[in-house]
Symmetry: none
Amino acid sequence: MDIEQVQRAAVARFAQQGFAATGIRELGTAAGINSATLYHYVGSKQDLLMRIISTCLNAMISGGREAIAGAEKPAGQLARLIAFHVAFTATNPLTARVAEYEMRALTGPAQEQMQALRDHYESLFSKVLVDGQKAGEFSTNDLTMARLAVMEMGTGVAHWYRPDGRLSLSQVQENFVAMAYRILAVPDAAKTADQPLPTAELLASEPNPQLSTQTVS
Amino acid sequence: MDIEQVQRAAVARFAQQGFAATGIRELGTAAGINSATLYHYVGSKQDLLMRIISTCLNAMISGGREAIAGAEKPAGQLARLIAFHVAFTATNPLTARVAEYEMRALTGPAQEQMQALRDHYESLFSKVLVDGQKAGEFSTNDLTMARLAVMEMGTGVAHWYRPDGRLSLSQVQENFVAMAYRILAVPDAAKTADQPLPTAELLASEPNPQLSTQTVS
Amino acid sequence: MDIEQVQRAAVARFAQQGFAATGIRELGTAAGINSATLYHYVGSKQDLLMRIISTCLNAMISGGREAIAGAEKPAGQLARLIAFHVAFTATNPLTARVAEYEMRALTGPAQEQMQALRDHYESLFSKVLVDGQKAGEFSTNDLTMARLAVMEMGTGVAHWYRPDGRLSLSQVQENFVAMAYRILAVPDAAKTADQPLPTAELLASEPNPQLSTQTVS
Amino acid sequence: MDIEQVQRAAVARFAQQGFAATGIRELGTAAGINSATLYHYVGSKQDLLMRIISTCLNAMISGGREAIAGAEKPAGQLARLIAFHVAFTATNPLTARVAEYEMRALTGPAQEQMQALRDHYESLFSKVLVDGQKAGEFSTNDLTMARLAVMEMGTGVAHWYRPDGRLSLSQVQENFVAMAYRILAVPDAAKTADQPLPTAELLASEPNPQLSTQTVS
DNA sequence: AATGAATGAGGGTTCATTCAT
DNA sequence: CATGAATGAACCCTCATTCAT
């Protein structure tokens, strides 16, 4: 029994029912311990949520940075960044969803800190897009809308991707990169050659998929 | 004081904090009535949520159908469907968000009914895409992924669109249609000429934007 | 629509579920009127209960007095008093039950007044028994216990008597008189000849038996 | 603090004011605990009531059976059964009253189960009476009425018996047996010799009489 | 490390009652 | 005469949290 098991149980419930609708006793039961014992691992219910979100967003930021560092030109950087985003979301769908949906459940400074991390992550996309626009690799009417569309698209992966599904992760990645390229009208010359796309590690907070009650098509 | 005022207050709170985190007394205060009075207009808290979601989804379905009926070829139908989706989401951002996020708060048959409506709406997109693929107007590696990407993209509008923002609604619509066309590689020949795009009416459940506490950039 | 209809509806519910478990709206529905209208006929829920109990106990007292007045010797008086008690209980079973069970729901002076009426009625029995004991017509170890036993016995009629049942009311009356005579060891010489036994009128508060949901064997 | 203390507090209140008129907070206060703590000992308010009634009726049934087993002939069995009934009622007046009055507060299957127990107990009396009638030891016009009268009589003990009162428990028992014998016209030959009459143990749910607020004459 | 017991606060809901219409 | 709307208080129950063991 350790804190990561508690986190996994919490993420599974938070993703399915939401933070507010999940009780402490329910978390204890799901983790196989008494609800009072839970307080040995976690300061409070909100603290538990913040650890989950914080770990998730930090992993996204560092992973996103590494992805960008793996290419030199904006088009390549974007491809790798999107590929990472998709990989991360597909690998940690429940944690990612909790990090996105339940930030509103945080109060005060905790929420500000987490929002700052989220903004930081989004700025990675902004920067790559702005750089590419300047370099003439991207062509779109509205850069802000394009960024939002691309990110939203990738985040949606959490709703339907399954490791044992019809498409492999790398197929999904390639497809998303292709769609992004189309949206941004990237010229063939700027497109990157096939190279190994970034992957994402399984977070300690991501529940075991088999045991998850989540059922997506 | 009528039931629509109650619905608006509820949508504002549900969108901001979530259904589970919003108390009945809080709803009463927001609607300017005693919490007990609220039960003259609504059978229960869950019933209130169901009315909101149900009204929203039914409006989406009928609006989507009309949009499709306004064009003959799949490419034109898709353009109008996306334009409607964007218009609806931009006009009723909070209601749309509640309808999407809080369906999980429903229990039993209520959830099944609402999920059936949601599925119905999504099937409108599926049908248009399949028709277009058959007609050779669309070209994409994976039709399912394309559908999900296009819908997710449009739904994201709720997160940032503001009526008094930088872009007008029709500009946003056109931009999204353009992005969808790119994703699906629609040939210029199939693209529709500029024509009046569908709009969406303001739902009775959508809170007055000025009074909403929502703050999106 | 008049106050007696309201009383009948109230007695039916109070007898079945108890005063505290019966709501004002429920009473209105049962009487076919709005709950607010009910306040035109009755000052308050407790006032309604007091009217019912008061009417019932007063009818019992006056009926009991008349019964006693119909005979000269204690044995005859007791027979007539018991016969009346049985007749009253069998004719107004629900009202009688409410008057007995729900007096505790009254508060303050209202309860004291009703208790005084109840004590008055019981004193009728006490007096007859004491008179009979003095006159040598009754013989029992303990007069108080005999009185309680005889009264309790008769009250129990409310639990099972039905007008369309196996036994006619006069048969039941005779049987109870016989049992009381046995308990008190009344000598044959003191027993009254067969004469018409007292009856009891149907109270305005007694619900129509056919419509009553009460089911006793 | 244990569950029996809670039960005693509950019985005291239920007997005095009724189940429906007694609040959870009031029960907590009476038991000396917070109302929320009460839910550690009891699943719900209705569950608490059912435990009380169930324990009471089961004790009555087993005690009644043992009483019957202590004699061979119906007249003796009846004497012992009545004596037990009186002893039980006098020893546990409040619990017995709650078990009788508040069964109607139970809903659904719970009520059916309890009613079955009550019927079982009453069948003990029926059987003894029928046996005695067949054996020629009892003589009465109507056996059913006699049974009801005898039981009702005994149950009435709860309304007035007090351990420190004028009469000892065994005196009351003997008196009731004598009254029953008279009602049934038991011949002297069939009467049992004086023998130790059955007693009843104090139930865990019976409140301490001194602390009880009940005041009977 | 682990837990049963305990609690103040608040959950959603129903209550008896009032009053303008 | 009758009612829909309204409300403060109370309903039963669950909440997150603490603490002695």
